[in-house]
Amino acid sequence: MNNETFEPTIIGFTCNWCSYRASDLAGTARMKYAPNVRLIRLMCSGRLDPTFVLRALSEGADGVMITGCHPGECHYIEQNYKALRRYLLLKRVLAGMGIEPGRVKLVWASAAEGAKFAAETTLFVEEIRKLGPLNWGRADSGPQTVDREVPSTVHNPSSEMEVPA
């Protein structure tokens, strides 16, 4: 890792229909953006269990980007609204845990918005860079950690933060 500028590691969640296709489009159009985000494809942003986010943050990610279809354009009709609700709640939970809520960001991107996906990714990387490394769950901040059991606070992906619809 470069000592001069902090290069954050970010996990990005996309839905299969809009935002993953937006990232595909950014690729096809050869748009350049920050390389710090590693994507996980879900079928829908509604699939995002908030514990996935906590898991990512506890396992070394400095930020998590959640993306999905625009409100009203969800391929599962309205499930992205549920993602939105969970996201808002998650931010409060994070704040309660002493983690900057800005480490999690929700971005709507349609399949046509490759440019937006690229721009938002770069922007988010900058935001996380400003926040600095998270180092949650690691006593030593160094990356050379020998294969060890990570104290898993959130292993069981139960969802205590679900808001009943």
Partner: protein, 666 residues
């Protein structure tokens, strides 16, 4: 760890190899991910080529691979290719994962070291995930061969005829008393100027008499349940107050009915009909309907003139709405469009200035069967205009109204110019922003209208006013516009203004979409499965969209879509059963606490609570696999195949390189 994983890194020519050190990635995977189960890692020029696929198939057979990761392009491109390869080699296709290192890495980054490092992380994530993959089987469901077509415009008629002609049964449901849709209101069709009724009526009759078509007009779908192959549909057949068995369509009731009503639908408010009426002479079916709101008998309790004169005793004032329940395998939605309400553009004066007309009004005005028998006259009903202005883009391409281009308005405006010129000899001005005539023989029509002497002004009209500034303008409608090509503001006095209004989604499109389980775009049109490669399918299997319900389009495109959807429907019917993606949620009954949190989350009604067992169940045929309920279950009782918690968590850990023996700086 007992899984045997093979990793295949694709060069994609130089598309990947140009930015990612593919050899390094393959070597790294073999070395660092060995403990995870990677027993072989190869790189190859083009993995998707037949040679590349054979390489994988060979390894599966010879090395006994139980999991495969292909680091190549987006799964949306070649996931199917590699899954099929695995299947050919005897491996369950769902044990293959794609790691996208082209769209998500090599094409979007330029620094080779950085890109290579990211590619390793992506491969690591895929390897961790694939180990958690489980073999899945496609789900087979039998298909009911009957089809429901909703909407009896030209798109719906076409769709119904194609399927019926192939020998399968169709229910064609139409909200209005007759099929025909907007096309039945038109006079001429661009660019060939075919008489609309002449080409449409035979199709309507064919649909009305086809042995394989059950025509349900004056009817609306009220409920849809089930899933592809097995939809259960409830249709409300509104009371016509006419006994269809007895009615011969002689028309005496209409003649005798004393109540005259403005016809807002078929005559676009420009003509009249009776309280008992068929909307037009060639209506299919030819039975009239009684308009309860306006019928004197229903209002005052006396009259019954129609009943008195009906020679067959077909009038039935006691008729009730009827609920029909039908089962179908596929549904085609051809619900059409609404015309943009031009009153909203108050600077164009529609509704305030009498001689401003909408496009649909002008269609009726110029139609030989319309209220003026085809005479193009002002609203006084007699004066022929000497000058006419046609305004394009009314309500379209405008952030104040509808953002999109309505596609047909330019050609429609040119058609109006031609008709006015031909029938009245008036001077015609057309005001446009951009002339959009992109289709076969369309631009030629533009040329023809130019040749006829229509005066084109490039500029969006600012206002239509009756505030004259001089004698020349007195008593006229003045069109104020910047002639952008001349760079000057002009005020052009005319007798008549025609607004080439845009199209917009049906006002109940959102609710209809919800009922059928499909979504609408921001603008309100139904969303297709893929804008280019699957324009008539939707995200809900077995539901198709055609014509203007999917977006503004002209008649040829609507007809083409109607036929295209039928091909998709026939394809489904002939397969006799349908294979569903096995990405489904299911409930572990042992763990379900019966809290019902998940119950309200499913827009497809796949989740049901079993009162007897006090647990929730998911109907796999209805489940679309979004996973929202999986994420919501507080007991962790719901799991989702293909995207299980285990898979996703493994992928998170893998992407963060928590799976390595020794963590490396990346």
């Amino acid at each position: 760890m007992t899984e045997r994983v093979g990793v295949y890194v694709c060069h994609c020519g130089s598309n990947i190899a140009g930015t990612v050190d593919v050899v390094d990635v393959a070597n790294w995977a073999a070395e660092k991910l060995g403990r995870q189960g990677v027993i072989i890692a190869r790189e190859y020029k083009f993995m998707c080529s037949s040679l590349g696929q054979e390489l994988i198939e060979k390894d599966i057979k010879e090395l006994g691979l139980t999991r495969v990761v292909v680091a190549a392009c987006s799964p949306h491109l070649h996931e199917k290719t590699f899954r099929t390869a695995a299947k050919n080699a005897g491996l369950n296709p769902y044990l293959v994962e794609l790691a996208s290192i082209r769209e998500q890495v090599s094409w979007v980054h330029s620094d080779k070291a950085v890109a290579t490092a990211k590619a390793k992380a992506v491969v690591s994530g895929a390897v961790s995930r694939v180990i958690e993959n489980r073999p899945l089987e496609e789900i087979k469901v039998p298909i009911n061969p009957n089809t429901l077509v909703v909407g009896g415009g030209i798109a719906g008629i076409q769709s119904a005829l194609e399927i019926a002609n192939a020998g399968f049964h169709v229910y064609l449901v139409e909200r209005e008393p007759s099929i025909g849709g907007h096309m039945a209101q038109f006079d001429k069709t661009f660019p060939t100027l075919d008489c609309s009724a002449c080409i449409l009526t035979p199709r309507m009759v064919e649909a009305g008499t086809h042995p394989n078509i059950t025509l349900l007009t004056w009817s609306e779908v009220t409920n849809v349940a089930g899933y592809v192959g097995n939809f259960h549909v409830t249709i409300k057949k509104k009371a016509r107050f006419i006994n269809e068995e007895l009615c011969t369509g002689c028309g005496i009731c209409q003649e005798k009915c004393p109540k005259k009503v403005i016809d807002d639908v078929y005559e676009a408010g420009l003509g009249y009909r009776k309280a008992v009426y068929t909307p037009f002479a060639q209506a299919v079916p030819n039975f009239p309907v009684m308009d309860k709101e306006n019928c004197t008998y229903f209002i005052k309790g006396t009259c019954k003139a129609c009943e008195k004169f009906c020679p067959t005793g077909a009038i039935d004032f006691n008729q009730q709405d009827e609920m029909l329940h039908i089962d179908v395998g596929n549904i085609v939605l051809a619900t059409g469009y609404d015309l943009f309400d031009a009153r909203r553009v108050s600077n164009y004066g529609y509704g305030r200035l009498p001689n401003v007309f909408t496009s649909l009004e002008f269609e009726r005005l110029s139609n030989a069967a319309g209220p003026t028998s085809g005479n193009i006259v002002l609203r006084d009903g007699k004066t022929t205009p000497k000058s006419v202005g046609v305004i394009h883009c009314v309500g379209s391409r405008d952030k104040n109204f509808n953002n999109y281009c309505s596609v047909i308005c330019c050609m429609q405006g040119l058609k109006f110019a031609h008709l006015v010129h031909e029938r009245t000899g008036a001077t015609v001005y057309n005001f446009y922003i951009d002339m959009r005539t992109a289709y076969k023989a369309y631009d030629e029509f533009y040329q023809r209208v130019l040749e006829e002497g229509t005066l084109f002004v490039r500029g969006k009209v600012a206002e239509v006013t009756n505030a004259a500034r001089n004698e020349r303008e007195k008593g006229k409608l003045i069109i104020q516009v910047e002639d952008t090509l001349a760079g000057k503001q002009r005020r052009i006095p005319v007798d008549m203004v025609i607004l080439s209004s845009g199209l917009q989604p049906r006002k109940d499109a959102k609710e209809v979409g919800k009922m059928f389980g499909i979504s609408c775009s921001m603008d309100g049109w139904f969303t297709e499965k893929h804008p280019k490669l699957d324009p008539v399918s939707t995200m809900t299997e077995g539901i198709y969209i055609v014509g203007c319900a999917q977006g503004p389009k002209d008649i040829p495109s609507s007809v083409a879509q109607g036929a295209a959807a039928s091909a998709r429907v026939l394809d489904k019917i002939l397969q006799k059963e349908v294979a569903l993606e096995p990405i489904k949620a299911s409930v572990n009954k042992e763990m379900c606490s019966g809290c019902r949190i998940c119950n309200g989350l499913c827009p497809f009604n796949a989740i049901a609570f079993i009162e007897d067992d006090k647990v929730t169940e998911i109907n796999p045929a209805l489940c679309q696999g979004c996973g929202t309920c999986v994420a919501a279950c507080p007991a962790g009782a719901i799991s989702g195949t293909g995207f299980s918690n285990e898979q996703i968590i493994a992928q998170i850990d893998g992407l963060l390189l928590r799976n390595l023996e020794v963590q490396e700086a990346v």
